[in-house]
């Protein structure tokens, strides 16, 4: 009785591992299903949700907290699956989306670049150069995505319970060892971990419901749940918005009680601060570009290529 999240680098064999484990343990195996469910449940376009867990946010997304909204939908959808236990989720955000749940076994599968290039050539019918570029691009996007949302390097082994290098240790060889790990007492569901999962489910549902409200910025709100008692703290722009937050949260399935401590922030200080921060970053980047342009001018190379 456990939940397994498998994070993988592009073309590292994570999907294969997930399916083999699912066969061996009889667990349900999901990946893209959470996106489809989230799109159905919350009426959002699938591609936007897909981008939310695959691409780094743009400046506009950072200012409007659009990413957080989509992630709230995805987390709520994943929690709906995870509440029933015995689940394998393979996708790179699993360990972040189910953070704080003790019976979640976080696995990462990696492979060396030549093996990944080979897999990309076979699967996507690409040339060697294209495959390499594709892998590097996806890795870069994901790294920036994780850095932005969680301030962590997604390749750091510290984020996972186990990292497997499939270049040397074949997935078939790892299966028996992994089954032993899943069946160990450490990853069994306990009343405490089940409660933590339920609390995460309720807070995710509330977050997803609030994400549908147009004037609510999830980035300013902290939502916690304790056995159906939900506490919402943070800032909102007006009393009407605060009231709508309370009404919406009350209507969420599983919510028994609401405790609100939301302050009204008319000046939207944080919003303005964020804009200034973004301008500061743009200015820094501009300086960096200027440096390269000047350098390349001297050497007589193409400028546009350098900026890109």
């Amino acid at each position: 009785m456990a939940i397994i999240t498998i994070s993988r680098g592009t073309m590292s064999g994570g999907e294969k591992l997930a399916h083999l484990l699912s066969e061996k343990l009889g667990y349900k195996c999901i990946s893209r299903e959470i996106i489809i469910k989230a799109a159905d449940d919350y009426g959002v376009e699938e591609h936007k949700l897909f981008e939310a867990i695959n691409k780094r946010p743009t400046i506009l997304h950072k200012l409007t907290f659009e990413k957080e909204r989509y992630l709230a939908f995805i987390r709520a959808s994943l929690c709906e699956y995870a509440k029933d236990d015995n689940l394998i989720y393979h996708g790179h955000a699993g360990h972040f989306l189910l953070k704080g749940i003790d019976h979640v076994l976080k696995i990462r599968i990696i492979a060396e670049l030549p093996d990944r290039i080979k897999a990309a050539i076979e699967r996507n019918n690409l040339s060697e150069t294209e495959a390499k570029k594709y892998i590097e691009r996806v890795d870069k996007e994901r790294a920036k995505w994780t850095k932005f949302l969680y301030g962590e390097d997604w390749t750091s082994p510290k984020l996972y319970d186990l990292v497997i290098n499939s270049s040397h240790l074949s997935i078939e060889n790892s299966i028996d060892a992994l089954v032993g790990l899943v069946e160990s007492p450490r990853f069994q569901t306990t009343p405490e971990s089940k409660k933590a999962m339920y609390n995460l489910l309720i807070s995710s549902r509330v977050k997803a419901a609030l994400a549908r409200l147009p004037l609510v910025n999830l980035g300013y709100l902290d939502i916690r749940s304790d056995d159906g008692k939900v506490s919402i703290s943070g800032r909102s722009k007006s009393q009407e918005i605060t009231d709508s937050i309370q009404d919406t949260a009350k209507s969420v399935a599983g919510v028994k009680e609401i405790k609100m401590s939301v302050e009204i922030d008319y000046r939207s200080y944080l919003f303005i601060k964020n804009i200034f921060m973004e301008f500061y970053i743009i200015r820094k980047k501009y300086h960096a570009c200027y440096f390269y342009i000047t350098r390349y001018d001297v050497r007589g190379s193409g400028i546009s290529k350098t900026i890109l």
Binding site: K158, D161, I164, N165, N173, G180
Partner: protein, 273 residues
């Protein structure tokens, strides 16, 4: 302070497999005389900029590698300490494991062992970690935190020693990870090449020549600096004294001691990480 010693102890109790550490290798290395002793003792501490230019790095790697390979030849062995996985290439029946433990698990044994307060224990662990990273980067040119240089990476924050031992035991019994004649032969050939390099390093006449050996069937390929006829005779004589071989081929070529990757790739094409 990641619990490796505890793991080694438990692993031995459960499997009876011989466990060796860096100290065991040092005993073997020290038999090679003063230079060997100097190399292994000085290099263990070498993280300063001055030490980075030390000429002892190459002797250290070769002698430690030789000692490790001699042990590995006997099979069914667990080695721990000082990034030993970087001394030998990837061979079919080798499993490289790294154990990570969160700081909160490492602090209590540090406090107990050093008799310091929590703040100082934390500081000590961070400093030691940083030093090890620097040391391995200088010695092997690799970052030991890179998960790609291991086959398995465990986080003791969630996985107990008992479970970890169980996983390792299971893995070691996998048919695909058993030593075969072919993989044993690979280890033997590597040991022969390293024996030659060690013999050349330990001989005062050839100590300063950076010669790399590659043992093939009844043939030794040597690559190193351009040598005069008299030096070449000495080199060949030492090689013949070390291993029984019919043919020795010497090719002048440049090999950098700094470029550890390039050197390893030469001796073991396609097998090193």
């Amino acid at each position: 302070m990641s619990g490796v010693q505890e793991l080694v102890k438990q692993f031995y109790e459960r499997t009876g497999i011989r466990c060796i550490s860096r100290e065991d290798l040092l005993d073997v290395v020290s038999k090679h005389g003063d230079l060997a002793l100097k190399a292994v003792t000085q290099l263990s501490e070498a993280t300063s900029a001055y030490n980075h230019f030390s000429k002892l790095r190459r002797p250290y790697i070769i002698l430690m590698r030789q000692a490790l390979l001699e042990e590995l030849q006997k099979d069914n062995i667990l080695y721990n300490g000082f990034s030993g996985q970087l001394l030998v290439p990837r061979i079919k029946h080798f499993i490289r494991v790294r154990i990570n433990a969160p700081l909160q698990l490492r602090i209590p044994p540090t406090i107990e062992r050093l008799g310091v307060d929590e703040e100082n224990a934390r500081k000590y662990i961070r400093e030691m970690d940083e030093q090890r990273v620097q040391w391995a980067r200088y010695t092997y040119g690799r970052d030991i935190r890179d998960p790609l240089i291991y086959d398995l990476h465990f986080n003791l924050g969630h996985i107990s020693m008992k479970v970890l031992c169980g996983i390792m035991k299971n893995l070691m019994s996998e048919p695909e990870l058993q030593a075969t004649e072919e993989s044993k032969n690979e280890v033997w050939k590597l040991l022969q090449s390293t024996n030659i390099e060690a013999a050349l390093i330990c001989d005062i006449r050839t100590r300063n020549f950076e010669i790399h050996a590659n043992f093939e069937k009844d043939k030794i390929n040597l690559v190193g600096p351009y040598l005069e006829e008299k030096d070449l005779i000495v080199v060949k004589e030492i090689v013949r004294d070390t291993v029984q071989v019919e043919e020795i081929e010497y090719t002048p070529g440049y090999t950098s001691t700094i470029d550890i990757e390039g050197w390893q790739q030469f001796t073991l094409p396609g097998t090193i990480i």
